[in-house]
Symmetry: C2
Subunit: 764 residues, 2 copies
């Protein structure tokens, strides 16, 4: 088996498709920026991209998307006047790897050119210690004496999906530092890249032209001698909390890095990564394939977690490019957040602060969508302000060549409840109420207020209903009483009520001022009625099946296969007004099953089983969010083989990079952090059977048969625990630094975990 | 100017399109059946059709549609062994005409064949006195002696859109009568055609074959001698109230007709037509074009009015063929019914009885659509049972070649209110409560109950709302708070309440048993609340504009012309999920303006003007129902030139036959009785300014400037009045047979019309 702490390949396939997919698999990131896994000599045609978190720009009517920075990592080399590149030179050997332990990317390529062999080796990382910083060690060795010219510096030929976003690009050299300065078009935000190198050979000149700001180093290289230099680049923007000007800050950052030196930078970087893994790793004994896929998934999440204090969140394609507008979807709260909540709460806080920061945007959206609502209707595709980046026309129709009207933006109202649920989970699992007091409580109340103004009362049936929505299954738009959405809305009212009760007891003054500020006194009793009388479709008394929405059971019975056979264009969309799936029971992704997972405590095993079996064969899994929901519920009901196969599907999506990269004409390649989060959830919540609430942590192990043990750490109420599950027993070690005893319930047995003590419980 | 009592042409254009259009323009009908305006020798390729009212059949999964009967009017002729036909023989002269006075169709064609001239002349009518009967007089004259063979009888090569509907077709000859017997496929209903002729020349033999049951008459015709024979055919089906077997009844009908003879049959027919015109004609002095178009419109309605006692209604394409499944739409109540109500109430009764007959179908539909409703949800496309013939996929998409999902059937809920309003109008204008007691009251209460179960209460805004509907403007589907629909629903509650009050006062026992039978006691107080709190979009305080539905004002501004320029396929549909009009303000037809017309007493002239001017430029008039609404409101607000031009549009639609005949692959040619009714309404309600309510008849004349006078009859509460409007005054003659004084209000002046007296009122 391969090294479980890296991904690597010994092939370089000179095809666009392979280069694009490797760009995703080998990307590195540090929460501030992502750097696609491309080679040093590559440019925009090979989709080189340094995508910045939280900085967006829009050109004309095109999609608003994150800004890609100039590439400060660019280096190209010529041997005896001939350009050496993986794209054009004969390659004798190539190896590239990405270390999961510290997000270091390495490439080593042996070229042959006119009878000479040149080896290029580079090592690159984005500092986990200094978010603006990228560091590269670049070496080359020729087997014969040769004239070598290196061009290294900043390439500002930028790959953009809907750019160009950076205007007034200017290249400068200030003392030893290369600078590329620019401003974004929409908001005139400065974006500057500085670069310095640490080099001790050759003759250096400066060359600017062709949108590159370069140093040219010429030397007569000796045979078999290895020449090495170090590159430091920094990206600084107006979004950064810098005290000086942006370009001064950038210069300072690269100079300081150079002064510290490569080894010191790497060691600080490694220290950060070591801390992360120490608490976040999950160990699966007896199944290297699962272990590797899971570790890669966790790695992806750790790389893209927002910088502390940034109040940024994680886009649906993380920092792997501009796909999906760099927007934050429900993916974050429902699929990524739990991982951070249990293992890395300081990042969970940032994700929640992002929703607090964008509350005003959610209020604006509520006011302007549909008939105009009150409260907070969070953006379906959220960027820095919380205004919705989602368009009303999302998907290209291959028949008419027009964009199809979809209702993701205006009808996928479960997003607000998803946020409220995550906010409350944060409080329940961490026990930390500061977030509630610093805006989180307001978020919850505004989400409840939104549902109150969105819901209607059915007098004939004496119940509130949530009408005209799109649930997770986006193939059936504008449905009434979608089980998932209604349940999320109901939970939002319950959470609002519980939170008000909590504040009334613990922070009455804060409650008073919040209620006053929000002018919401009268609504509070109504929220109680809403929680009681809001209709959520219930299991059928005979079959146990829950109707996904009003009328779903009356739709046409068909199979996914039969449906796909009826497609007459490979890119035709199955949903929207007229898609093939619309009149049928075929669904895009987990919907009722997603609800059964999210609210697993509220449903019997029989109901979960009935619905899993009903919906599973009718699900296309047209979204990467689907597999983990089916995996978790499968684990919950003891279908462990199914759980395992869906787990591999969710865990290997990025490592195998076999996903679709085009829908219609829309490029959608990139990483899948929600599926990564789903992989972690499937292991810890599914096979581990972990579920924490405000009172206790419940563990009902469902260990997969090939696994000897499963071991992970988790935080609960600020205390740290190591849990090891074997076939017959569970060992829980409460960290000595823990503050309190905590209650764990293992397969029904309640136990107290005392700080510093190890507990051993049999569960068979 | 042409004869104002006929349409005619001196051309025969041997093209499919022209033959099809003339088939519509020259059709005759008698309420029992329609006979397209084709020539004697034509067959199914020329769209010969004898369409039966109220008899439907379905083949497999194809559309259910009315049955076309075998053609008992078929005659072809050969001259010296050569077939003579307008399709193949040289025509020297051709004339055909349709008399509006009595629905008699005549053709006279001079053929030339091998140097001989043959004139064929035929006269045809469907008896207005004996609904099953068709009568033809056929003559020919040759300028030279010639061998002539006539084949006449029954052609059962039937033109069907979605047939064949008639199975087990058998041809017989019994004594002198030809018979074609058959049964429908779906319900095994017998359909029989009998034919006899009255002929006194030649040698007759019988020939059956090629789906024709024929007599062959051979003779040596003398030069310049005219030979004439008479043909009588009868269609009888299991739907007829016959005492004998269907074929015996058919034989009897043709034998009796033959015994009576042609002249007697024609004279009885003419007597019926004379009676109709006596009360139903409208005279426009000074404008022959308007007079002729209006008369043709009235003629169309008179021809297709259901047979007394049949409880049939009038399909959207009347009896001109199988288009639109021969189904009854809201067209009947909203556009045709008023004509009958004011001029021919015995037919208005049949239209209403049809809705009573189909109440159970409407109840079934309510139960099964959407989430399941209570009460009566009338079929959007109604056939004999009231179950909905409308499909969920109605319109072919030229891009994907698939059928588009439309929401006509399940969301066009205004249909129930349209029925309730017509039912109540009948009572208000006739003063006759018998219909209410014989099922009409139940219809009204069931419609109110339906809206009660369909409506939702918006707690946040403290009002009931009608959500998720399609209004008259079918380009914007699934909208909330459509002004037209909500107003119709509100009116339905008001009507239900007024009717309950009326019954309580006048027929308390009937009310008691109705309420008990319907188990509706508790709902009655709720209907009062519904009438009060049901939200109907109101005029904007500044502009006066009423938003057609929630969000309409936020749609994209564009012009009809610009929108059409963006079409990339001539047959692409502008509505449904993805049509070009959907995101724009372009509407298919009058919607808010339709409401302002229907509820003209509730809105100020300023509001009507504001909305007419707002919506008129945004209306495509993609439906033949649109023009008359704009015409009537234009008259109402004094825009008489506009009213006139929209009037001509609605009045001339069938006479000019310029409408579209294909939408996608769907044939939709035929007559437009709703537009015909709209023409009458525009003249009497619009230019005449007539509006009756339960207390009085209001007349606010808006005479068009080119008209010297406008004269019409009307019934009010069973009494008859002749009204003549000139430029300055109104003359009302109350028929001597009237039973009571009736109040008329002419331009604000209230006057009492005493039986037998003439009143003269100036209004300038």
């Amino acid at each position: 088996m391969h090294n479980l702490w890296q991904v690597h390949t010994d092939k370089f396939i000179n095809e666009k498709e392979s280069i694009m997919r490797n760009g995703n698999v080998y990307q590195i990131a540090n929460g501030y920026m992502g750097y696609r896994g491309t080679l040093d000599e590559f440019g925009p045609d090979e989709l080189v991209g340094i995508t910045l978190a939280g900085l967006y720009d829009r050109v004309g009517d095109a999609w608003r998307e994150p800004v890609n920075a100039p590439n400060g990592g660019f280096t190209e080399i010529t041997l005896d006047g001939r350009e050496i590149s993986a794209l054009s030179t004969r390659i004798k050997k190539h190896h590239q790897s990405l270390s999961l332990g510290n997000a270091v990317f390495e490439r080593e390529t042996d070229f042959e050119s006119r009878g000479k062999a040149l080896q290029i080796k580079s090592t690159r990382f984005l500092s986990a210690d200094e978010p603006n910083l990228g560091v590269i060690k670049f070496s080359f060795t020729c087997n014969k004496a040769a004239r070598v010219r290196i061009k290294t510096g900043i390439d500002y030929n930028i790959w953009d999906l809907n750019g160009p976003h950076l205007l007034k690009l200017t290249a400068k050299k200030k003392s030893g530092t290369l600078l590329v300065q620019s401003v974004t078009g929409e908001a005139s935000k400065k974006v500057t890249v500085a670069e310095v190198i640490d080099l001790h050979f050759g003759k250096q000149t400066h060359e600017a032209g062709g949108n590159k700001n370069l140093r040219v180093i010429e030397l007569d290289a000796k045979a078999n001698q290895t020449y090495t230099f170090y590159k430091y680049f920094a990206v600084v923007t107006d979004n950064d909390p810098v005290k000086t000007s942006v370009h001064e800050a950038a210069i300072k950052k690269v100079e300081e890095a150079k002064d510290s030196g490569y080894d010191e930078c790497l060691s600080r970087h490694n220290a950060q990564w070591a801390k992360r893994w120490e608490h976040c790793d999950v160990k699966i004994e007896g199944d290297d394939e699962a272990q590797h896929a899971l570790r890669y998934s966790i790695f992806q999440l750790l790389m893209v977690a927002p910088v502390n204090g940034s109040a940024n969140s994680i886009p649906a394609r993380a920092l792997s490019g501009q796909v999906y507008k760099g927007a934050i979807f429900w993916d974050t709260e429902m699929f990524m957040f739990p991982f951070f909540l249990y293992t890395y709460p300081e990042k969970a806080v940032e994700l929640m602060r992002y929703r607090i920061k964008t509350l005003d945007g959610a209020r604006r959206k509520a006011k302007t969508e549909g008939a105009g609502y009150r409260g907070a209707f969070y953006a379906w595709e959220s960027q820095e302000s919380g205004d919705d980046a989602c368009t009303y026309f999302n998907i290209g129709d291959p028949f008419s060549k027009r964009d199809l009207r979809t209702y993701f933006r205006d009808k996928q109202v479960h997003i607000s409840g998803d946020v409220a649920i995550a906010m409350w989970e944060y409080f329940k699992v961490t026990g930390d109420d500061s977030l509630l007091l610093e805006g989180g409580g307001e978020v919850i109340l505004e989400c409840a207020r939104f549902y109150y103004s969105y819901a209607y009362f059915n007098k004939d049936k004496h119940r509130h209903e949530i009408l005209d929505v799109v649930g997770p299954d986006e193939y059936h738009e504008r449905v009434n009483n979608n089980a998932f959405t209604s349940m999320v809305a109901k939970a939002t009212f319950e959470i609002a009520n519980a939170m008000v009760e909590y504040l009334r007891r613990r922070h009455p003054d804060k409650l008073k001022s919040l209620v006053k500020k929000m002018d919401i006194t009268g609504a509070l009793p109504v929220f109680r009625e809403m929680a009681d009388l809001l209709y959520v479709p219930q299991p059928d008394e005979t079959t146990g099946a829950i109707e996904q929405f009003d009328g779903y059971f009356k739709l046409k019975e068909t199979t996914v296969k039969e449906l796909k056979a009826r497609m007459i264009h490979p890119n035709e969309y199955l949903g929207a007004g007229q898609g093939l799936a619309v009149p049928t029971k075929v669904i895009k992704q987990a919907d009722v099953v997603m609800m059964l997972n999210l609210f697993k405590d509220r449903y019997t095993e029989q109901v979960k089983k009935a619905n899993w079996e009903y919906y599973e064969p009718r699900t296309e899994h047209g979204s990467s969010l689907s597999a983990c929901a089916y995996a978790m519920v499968a684990a919950d009901i003891g279908k462990l083989d199914w759980a395992y196969s869906y787990f591999l599907k969710t865990a290997k999506i990025d490592i195998e990079a076999r996903y679709k990269v085009y829908v219609g004409t829309i490029f959608m390649g990139g990483s899948h952090p929600a599926a990564n989060g789903g992989a972690w959830m499937t292991v810890v919540f599914g096979f581990g059977g972990v579920k924490a609430n405000a009172e206790r942590v419940v563990i009902n192990p469902r260990l997969y048969k090939e696994w000897k043990s499963l071991q992970f750490n988790m935080f609960y109420k600020g205390d740290s625990f190591n849990v090891k599950i074997t076939r017959n027993d569970v060992t829980i070690i409460a960290d000595p630094s823990n503050k309190c005893n905590r209650t764990f319930v293992v397969s029904g047995k309640s136990i107290e975990c005392v700080p510093g003590k190890r507990l051993f419980v049999g569960y068979r």
